[in-house]
């Protein structure tokens, strides 16, 4: 996609505007701005310690940026100022995330994990517990619908046959996919992934790449197309599936653009080859 050059306009689902994050004396992120376009996969890359995770945590509300603004266009079109919201409010506004070190509910089944993700609509349908307690039909229908949605995601990640196994028992790659499905079950406007390919073998990476593109295009399940923001070390994946790449180094944005352009940017090459062993 070439609309990356367009300054954040109506096409942007997420607009990060000059955020900085200071930890004591350390300026971890220094006035970084970028946008995630609707219906795109945007990758945030950079050498170790570049501030990717900090930016990521600011967007998902686990940190509050020292300065700057982060605006999210909700599914209904209204804007949400993420830098002012608490983390669970951010999730409600439509930002779903996964974690670098997988955080599934290990003692609950895969299906239960996906139902917890649909807590809000289900809780609303229960009439705050009381209706559900008495077995009212409105909740029954809502629950059936939630299970159906969970099942469709389990199908999309090839885990339908393991729906009733504890999440902690699943193989590593399956856990990564399940975490993505769980995030998608919240019905987000933006899916944020923290190193989703870490620890995957080539075949699993391939599967992941396909899953992410289907999530972007809305063909994974019947759910709507969803924009994706990811932090990734695996350049193969980044270059193959990203529509737009933002490169950070030492807390600053040093380049952004389509993958081909970024790959040949000399600042990027210098950052990766000159100062870090990672290539």
């Amino acid at each position: 996609m070439s609309e990356a050059a367009i300054p954040s306009g109506s096409g942007a689902i997420l607009d990060v505007d000059g955020i900085s994050m200071r930890f004591g004396g350390l300026l971890a992120v220094d006035t970084v701005s970028f946008a995630v376009q609707r219906g795109s996969i945007t990758a945030l890359i950079g050498p170790n310690g570049a501030g990717k995770t900090t930016v990521f945590n600011c967007i998902t509300g686990f940190y509050r940026p020292t300065s700057g603004r982060i605006a999210l266009r909700r599914v209904d079109g209204s804007l949400a100022a993420l830098e002012r919201l608490k983390d669970h409010r951010i999730a409600r506004a439509g930002v779903a995330r996964t974690f670098q070190n997988i955080r599934l509910f290990a003692g609950m089944t895969a299906l239960e994990n996906l139902l917890v993700a649909q807590h809000l609509p289900l809780q609303r349908a229960t009439g705050f517990g009381i209706g559900a307690m008495l077995g009212l039909s409105r909740y029954k229908a809502a629950e059936a619908e939630a299970i159906e949605r969970a099942a469709s995601w389990l199908r999309a990640i090839n885990l339908l046959d393991r729906a009733d196994d504890a999440a902690g028992e699943l193989p590593y790659g399956a856990q990564r996919r399940l975490e993505i499905a769980r995030a998608m079950c919240t019905g987000p406007a933006l899916l944020c992934l923290d190193e989703p390919a870490a620890g995957l073998n080539p075949r699993e990476s391939e599967e992941l790449a396909r899953l992410l593109t289907t999530i972007r295009d809305g063909t994974a399940t019947s759910s709507a197309p969803t924009s994706v923001l990811l932090i990734e070390h695996d350049m193969g994946i980044v270059m193959r599936i990203s529509d737009h790449v933002v490169v950070l180094d030492h807390g600053r944005k040093i380049a952004e653009g389509p993958p081909d352009l970024v790959r040949n940017d000399r600042h990027v090459i210098a950052a990766y080859l000159g100062e870090d062993e990672e290539a």
Binding site: L104, G107, L111, L115, V116, L120, D164, D165, G168, E169
Partner: protein, 432 residues
């Protein structure tokens, strides 16, 4: 085993037992060997009991030797795993069987007043265990002051009934609501604390409430407590001995008997316990119940899914407190007398022990644990002052042998295909 191997094992067991006896000697030589007694004049003097020290050391030696030679080899044969699986299998049938026994218990021949009173006591603890399980087992919040809500319920009932003359059936929900209200009030500032901090703060709250009850003499009667609490009526019909008009016996045209009230109380607490169970089991399959369990598994992930953890924790806390409040109201009407004595930390500890011993989250396990602990405690009543000693020792022993409790595995709340149990090692224990 070869003879030389056996000899070596016996030798090492003997050495081991010798060491244990030596430690026992060090432990007991002063504390048992020399007893401080108060002379009539008020002075302290020492009395020697060397023979007892010798006996205790010999006992430790013998027990240690026996453990090393017989018990440990058997344990290591690996049948603990199998028994655990068996137990959780049996649990499926065991629950209904237990319920059936509980339902017909008052009419089983040979069950007298004493047995029913014991049954009431056990059921009270089962109910408290199930209530606390919501907080500790499902939501993973370690509450060491649960007895405070039990006390709030009991005093609410006693005071409402005495000052306003309200009947038990009006006071019961009020007691529950008040306890839940206190749960929210106390929970709100502290629920963002983690793990042991939460434990110690809840313990402190429990003590604060007890000390206030002890010292607010005008309201609570202080250490003398409240006596003459109205006894429950059968929906308005009192259980009077005279059998006069309007009494339970008169209304149903039966001979007045003191056992009527006991039987009524028994079914009352059985009903309350079953209500607790029903709510707990049902709510586990609701979004809020699943959110509790998710919270126990991973709080950060819950936040990322948009779950308001403060509210979710508060609901668990309040609901658990409410059931303690119900149980407290029942306790007050059953005893007709309450004092702060009944609401010490040890009660919280016993309830928590029942929950942990039963296996966090397992309803049947908790019921069995309450029967074993409270029933066992009664069984040993001839031991007098040694009874609590045995009780504490049993708590340690059971934990050492079965750290995950009787039923450690978890049943999923919802399934697509077949129902499988989830192994205890995967289930989280909460950090809150």
């Amino acid at each position: 085993m070869t003879p030389s191997g056996l000899a070596a094992r016996v030798r090492s067991a003997l050495v081991d037992a010798g060491k244990a006896a030596l430690v026992a000697f060090g432990l007991f030589i002063l504390m048992v060997g020399l007893r401080t007694d108060v002379a009539p004049a008020g002075e302290l003097f020492l009395r020697t009991r060397w023979a007892e020290v010798g006996m205790l050391c010999a006992l430790v030696f013998g027990l240690r030797l026996a453990t090393a030679l017989w018990v440990r080899p058997r344990l290591s044969e690996g049948n603990t795993q199998r028994s655990a699986a068996l137990l959780s299998q049996a649990g499926l049938m065991f629950g209904p069987a237990l319920l059936a026994v509980a339902l017909i218990l008052p009419f089983v021949p040979g069950i007298g007043r004493y047995e029913l009173d014991l049954g009431i006591l056990v059921l009270t603890y089962i109910m408290l265990g199930w209530g606390l399980n919501i907080v500790v087992g499902l939501a993973g919040l370690l509450d060491l002051g649960y007895v405070a809500f039990y006390a709030v319920g009991a005093y609410s009932y006693a005071l409402l009934a005495q000052f306003f003359g309200l009947s038990f059936w009006i006071c019961l929900p009020l007691a529950g609501i008040l306890a839940a209200f206190w749960g929210v009030l106390l929970g709100f500032p502290v629920l963002r604390l983690r793990g042991d901090y939460l434990a110690i703060v809840t313990l402190a709250f429990g003590e604060i409430i007890r000390i206030v009850l002890l010292n607010w003499v005008e309201l609570t009667g202080g250490p003398n407590g409240i006596s003459g609490i109205p006894r429950p009526t059968f929906f308005g019909l009192p259980f009077s001995m005279g059998g006069g008009p309007g009494s339970f016996a008169h209304f149903f045209g039966i001979e007045p008997s003191p056992s009527h009230r006991v039987i009524f109380l028994y079914y009352l607490i059985l009903g309350l316990a079953l209500l607790t169970n029903w709510v707990a089991v049902r709510i586990r399959r609701q979004p809020i119940g699943r959110a509790w369990e998710a919270l126990r598994e991973d709080e950060v992930a819950c936040r990322a899914l948009g779950i308001d953890i403060t509210n979710t924790k508060l609901t668990a806390f309040a609901l658990g407190a409410m059931f303690a409040g119900f149980a407290g109201a029942f306790f007050a009407t059953r005893q007709a007398f309450i004092s702060p004595e009944s609401f010490t930390f040890i009660e919280s500890a016993i309830i928590l022990a029942i929950v942990v011993l039963g296996g966090l989250g397992s309803q049947v396990g908790i019921a069995v644990a309450a029967i074993v602990m409270i029933g066992g405690f009664e069984l040993f009543r001839d031991l007098d002052e040694y009874r609590m000693l045995v009780f504490g020792g049993a708590m340690v022993a059971i934990m050492v042998l079965r750290p995950r409790g009787l039923v450690g595995s978890r049943a999923p709340s919802v399934v697509l295909g077949g129902r499988k149990r989830i192994d205890a090692s995967l289930v989280g224990e909460g950090r809150g």
